[in-house]
């Protein structure tokens, strides 16, 4: 029982971390109907920027405080992400208004390649460290009730809290502001949105900036977990079933999807894996998402796919 709870809890935590990456996908999809293939690259880029500035800033300023270094690095990396967003809009998206999803997807792929190259050129391709003071050692709960207690990872707990806060904030932003409505309009029909005066370019810069910040937070947390290195980009692949399960357009969906996928893959690996030789969690996550889709083809909270003649 204790072990089951532990697995469950572990799954929930991982799920929240997936959500954080998933969120980036959702934001950009919502605002432009584009599946942003560069999300993984953005996470890496942001994390690299953060890690390196946290190294460089104390060197430049001579101030040794970790809080200062990390805080300043976060701000600078955020600015870098804004610049990236602005450039992407200027150089790429602006020229692809009203094109099909596949074309835009491909463009984001080009962006992904570019960011991979640029990130490593600017910031190096080694392993770097983000040390924001996350506690690494385990704590044990309920050790009176269960033998050995239930192991909880504090780092995960903090990360999950940050993820939850971010999601709450974004949900609010989209629900309560007129921008939310404009975003959805843009995603539906670029040209019509333009025709009634919605400034596509500005909207896209805003959204990519927000997505950049989300990528930065995701990169910071995953980077502190894994070390900042190229493999961070592959986290995107694990977040994919989350996005799809939650619904491509739903911010809360990313969270719920994350929790379901997190729990599902951990339980399956732990309880089913041993019978078939293990290593099943990744495809199990996708199959799980698929099963949900068979019942709700638009994901749990996605907007209904419209097909009408």
């Amino acid at each position: 029982m204790a072990f089951f709870l532990e697995t469950l809890f572990g799954g929930l935590m991982v799920g929240m971390l997936y959500s954080l990456v998933a969120l980036g996908f959702v934001l950009i999809f919502k605002a432009s109907g584009v599946f942003n293939f560069a999300q993984g690259a953005m996470v890496l880029f942001a994390a690299l920027a953060m890690a390196r500035f946290a190294e460089w800033i104390p060197m430049w300023t001579g101030i040794e405080s970790r809080w200062f270094a990390n805080g300043a690095a976060f701000v600078v990396a955020g600015l870098v992400m804004f610049a990236v967003a602005w450039l992407i809009e200027r150089l790429v998206l602006r020229h692809l208004v009203n094109q099909e999803g596949a074309t835009l997807l491909m463009a984001t792929l080009g962006i992904a390649y570019f960011l991979d190259g640029a990130g490593q050129t600017l910031f190096g391709s080694n392993i770097y460290k983000i040390d924001i003071g996350m506690p690494k050692d385990p704590i044990f709960l309920l050790d009176k009730v269960f033998e050995g207690g239930i192991l909880i990872n504090k780092e995960d707990l903090y990360a999950a809290a940050i993820a939850a806060a971010l999601v709450a904030l974004l949900s609010l932003f989209f629900q309560k502001t007129g921008t939310g409505r404009a975003l959805r309009a843009v995603a539906d029909d670029h040209q019509a949105a333009q025709s009634i005066g919605i400034p596509l370019t500005r909207i896209w810069v805003i959204v990519w900036c927000v997505a950049g910040v989300v990528a930065l937070v995701a990169g910071m947390i995953w980077g502190s977990k894994l070390g900042v290195q190229f493999s961070l980009t592959t986290v995107a692949l694990r977040a994919l079933p989350v996005v799809i399960l939650g619904g491509l357009t739903s911010v809360p969906g990313a969270i719920i999807g994350g929790l379901i996928i997190g729990v599902g893959e951990k339980l399956s690996e732990v309880y089913l894996g041993p019978y078939v030789g293990g290593g099943i969690e990744i495809w199990f996550a996708y199959v799980l998402a698929l099963v949900f889709l068979l019942f709700r083809p638009q994901g749990l909270f996605g907007e209904k796919i419209i097909d009408r003649v």
Partner: protein
Amino acid sequence: MSSPSIVLNVNGIEVIYNHVILVLKGVSLVVPEGGIVALLGGNGAGKTTTLRAVSNLLAGERGAVTKGSIELRGERIEALSPSELVKRGLIQVMEGRHCFAHLTIEDNLMTGAYTRTDGKAAIAETLEKVYAYFPRLKTRRTSQAAYTSGGEQQMCAIGRALMANPTMVLLDEPSMGLAPQIVEEVFEIVKDLNTKERVTFLLAEQNTNMALRYADYGYILENGRIVMDGEARSLRENEDVKEFYLGVGGADRKSFRDVKSYKRRKRWLA
């Protein structure tokens, strides 16, 4: 160059799609302040293209204006983005409705007010006005646009443009898919806005009959060229126009059943 009473001055524009398809071959037209100008012509004449060129929506169709100039109240506007044009009061109602499928009718209408800065109350007022124009929209306000009927979507598209409180509207086939009564109403609305709020209209219409009834001036476009223009009244009297666009060739109206042979439209040489 342009006199102050001219809102829109299109000067010899040429439009090419996809770098190879030449569609407009030097179209010029002038829309005076507070006027209603009709742009007439058969399928594929280039009406939609002209309107897109004015509102700068060609890029998304991979088209481009390669020659000529477009001026709005004396200012060159080829380089302005559509949203800047909307801020200057020029808005287009696109052909084929283009409602935002996932948004409700009301949200669709509200997006039209995106550029407005005159406060919630004013917007709510316009919304009521639009609902008054199209009561049907009010009853369907909470349904997603994709699940409304064709005519309802058309009303929504027109209403959405009106929400921006424009001073000049480009209407592309507003009557398409609307019941006769509503067509009548739409033109009444046009007249109404035109006289009460001095909104200028440029409308591309197939329903020539209606268009010439309400417009002050008309241009006839064929094959990417203006082949005739004139006061609406005089166009209505023109024999050719009568025959080809109004369906009242020569004597009386012919029954659609009795038009025995396919007619070839007279091709003007321009």
